[in-house]
């Protein structure tokens, strides 16, 4: 168990590729941190620097109060789970689990006990003698987890561990990882590009974009108060609607049409954010006119794709609601998000 402190960390690859810059995250003991962001934003690079598989060019990483920049991965007291599992193909499941302990000179009896415990926790007992190739994807995934937990490390590092599994198994394994982490109370850093995985697993989310931190916060905090248009469109599905709008005397208009919404903002252009599920179809004949393009029925939800004043908008409605011929949208003003039109940073509207 240990806290991990990442301070001003940056990574420049040869050829001046700046993969990660100036990242600072203070991770508390036992916390589950998820790094999320689009492909190529530097998630793996950051994780691998914590693991010691990649040299740190700037800043420091400390694990349990000890700066580990120059320390070998094996001495950092961490365990890593790889995307393709990286199980040793010629070793049985037992040997895969035991290998790290053997290398540390753990006594045989202790190894047996720890492997047995991990196997019981992960329901791997029937497979201990098998080779990895004789296991299903989910079982391999569990072996990879087992290899991490037998060592009882100070921290788990996961690099997209579920992305090779099918959708259903991913949900199951997601639950198992969460439970296991809570039970063991081990500090964890988890990398994913799947925002749903990020939302469900994290104690705190770190949203990365282009090698920089866009926002850090609890999943719901990030969901309800995205710090920028990037976070707003990345977290949540369907993505938040972002509309170019204009404020004049506290009245918001989109395109030529006034929305009837008011906001305590200075005059000028803004980006207006509205979650699909916060938008409602208004029945009173007021609200923004909405032209429907197509409908997606997801069972629990019905997504209406269309346009407001020439900008595309998605609305989530209840599937049993009849669709009137003329559609108008309404939204509670406290559900609106505002971002600066140029930098995309969040602005809080003064209450009216």
């Amino acid at each position: 168990m240990a806290a991990i402190d990442i301070k001003g960390v940056g990574k420049t690859y040869v050829g001046n590729v700046n993969a990660v810059s100036d990242i600072s995250i203070a991770i508390a003991d036992g916390e589950f941190i998820v790094l999320v962001g689009p492909s190529g934003c530097g998630k793996s690079t950051l994780l691998r620097m914590v693991a010691g598989l990649e040299r740190i060019t700037d800043g420091t990483v400390s694990i349990g109060g000890r700066v580990v920049n120059e320390i070998e991965p094996a001495e950092r007291d961490i365990a890593m789970v790889f995307q393709n599992y990286a199980l040793y193909p010629h070793m049985s499941v037992y040997d895969n689990l035991a290998y790290g302990l053997k290398n540390r000179g753990t006594p045989k009896a202790e190894i047996d006990a720890r492997v047995a415990e991990a196997a019981r926790m992960l329901e791997l007992q029937p497979y201990l003698e098998r080779k990895p190739r004789a296991l299903s994807g989910g079982q391999r995934q569990r072996v990879a987890m087992g290899r991490a937990i037998v060592r009882k490390p100070a921290a788990f590092l996961f690099d997209e561990p579920l992305s090779n599994l099918d959708a259903k198994l991913r949900v199951t394994m997601r639950g198992e990882i969460k439970q296991l982490q809570k039970r063991l109370g081990t500090t964890s850093i988890y990398v994913t590009h799947d925002q749903l995985e990020a939302m469900t697993l994290a104690d705190r989310l770190v949203v990365l974009n282009g090698g920089r931190i866009e926002q850090i916060g609890a999943p719901l905090q990030v969901y309800h108060h995205p710090a920028s248009t990037f976070v707003a469109s990345f977290i949540g599905s369907p993505a938040m609607n972002l509309l170019k709008a204009n404020v004049a005397n506290g009245v918001i208009s989109i395109g030529d049409g006034e929305t009837g919404l008011r906001a305590g903002l200075p005059d000028g252009p803004v980006t207006l954010g509205a979650r699909a599920e916060d938008l409602r179809l208004s029945d009173s004949g007021v609200g923004m006119p909405f032209t429907l393009a197509f409908v997606e029925d997801l069972g629990a939800q019905r997504l209406l794709h269309g346009h407001c004043a020439g900008q595309s908008v998605v609305v989530a409605v209840s599937p049993d609601l009849p669709l009137p011929s003329e559609l108008r949208l309404a939204i509670a003003s406290d559900r609106l998000h505002f971002f600066t039109a140029d930098t995309g940073k969040r602005i809080e509207a003064a209450s009216l």
Partner: protein
């Protein structure tokens, strides 16, 4: 082919049988010749049916030696060939797997240069560099020794190159997982890379053993003392007698015996191949 047409089946079998006949016929002739008396060849016509002297010929070859034919005892020559072939194949595998490991997994100055130098030696087979090599071996006093027979043939890049290609296909994550698991460079090599290379090593061993066994020119040059003659040289010497008719039946019997060890190696190693193919450990 999944097609099931009788004509195609017949044709493919015919082609295969023809191939086998072409390859096997000389071996068959050699075997038949070794079952006849020396005098049966004077007419100049090669018999195609087995003769009656099978036991007698092989008894002579194996036990009485061939002093008359100008060659040392065949058992010794077989032994020399075996030592040379094993030294070459094992030496090459050990050196090339280590150098491939260094080139693929370590970053050191002039690494690329080292690789290219090794690669260039691919273009220099023994025959091309035979004169300078002989000079070096002679100056080092290694003529007429097992070291002189095998060491110059160990240095070559083919195997290094093959191991390098194989190591490049091993996923990086395996190395990283091993590093996190506390395996240093030597442990990683011994516990992970070597077991994964098992089938490659077996395949190379077969190829290199046959390569070493069939060496002719080099042993001919570095050995003058019959204690170190190899079997392939021996066959040549026996068929090359002056002022007498070669004893073809004995020559052929030696040829047949010389063929056996490579065949045994192939048969024995084939089990490992097949195992490797069925397991597909990657």
């Amino acid at each position: 082919m999944v097609e099931n047409r009788p004509f195609l089946k017949l044709l493919s079998h015919l082609v295969l049988i023809l191939g086998v006949v072409i390859v096997a016929f000389p071996v068959y002739v050699a075997f038949i010749a070794s079952t006849h008396k020396t005098t049966d060849f004077i007419t100049g016509v090669m018999p195609v049916l087995p003769g009656s002297d099978f036991l007698a010929t092989y008894k002579t070859v194996l036990f009485s030696g061939l002093a008359a034919a100008g060659a040392p005892p065949i058992g010794m020559m077989l032994g020399n060939s075996l030592i040379m072939a094993l030294a070459i194949s094992i030496g090459k595998i050990v050196i090339s797997i280590l150098s491939a490991y260094a080139i693929v997994y370590f970053r050191f100055p002039f690494r690329q240069l080292a690789f290219w130098i090794i690669f260039v030696t691919l273009m220099l087979p023994v025959e091309v560099r035979i004169v300078p090599t002989f000079k070096v071996v002679a100056d080092l006093g290694m003529l007429n020794s097992y070291a002189g027979l095998s060491i110059p043939l160990i240095a070559s890049a083919t195997a290094t190159f093959l191991f390098r290609q194989f190591f490049l296909t091993v996923p990086d994550e395996l190395l990283e997982a091993a590093r996190v698991d506390g395996a240093g460079p030597l442990k990683f090599f011994k516990d992970i890379l070597l077991p994964l290379s098992r089938t490659n090593i077996a395949a190379l061993f077969v190829i290199l053993f046959i390569y070493g066994w069939n060496q002719y020119l080099w042993p001919l040059i570095v050995t003058t003392d019959s204690e170190h003659y190899t079997i392939v040289m021996g066959i040549k010497r026996m068929s090359d007698v002056t002022d007498a008719e070669p004893q073809w039946n004995l020559v052929m019997a030696v040829a047949i015996l010389a063929m056996l060890p490579p065949v045994l190696v192939v048969i024995f190693m084939q089990r490992l191949f097949v195992k490797g193919l069925v397991e597909t450990e990657k």
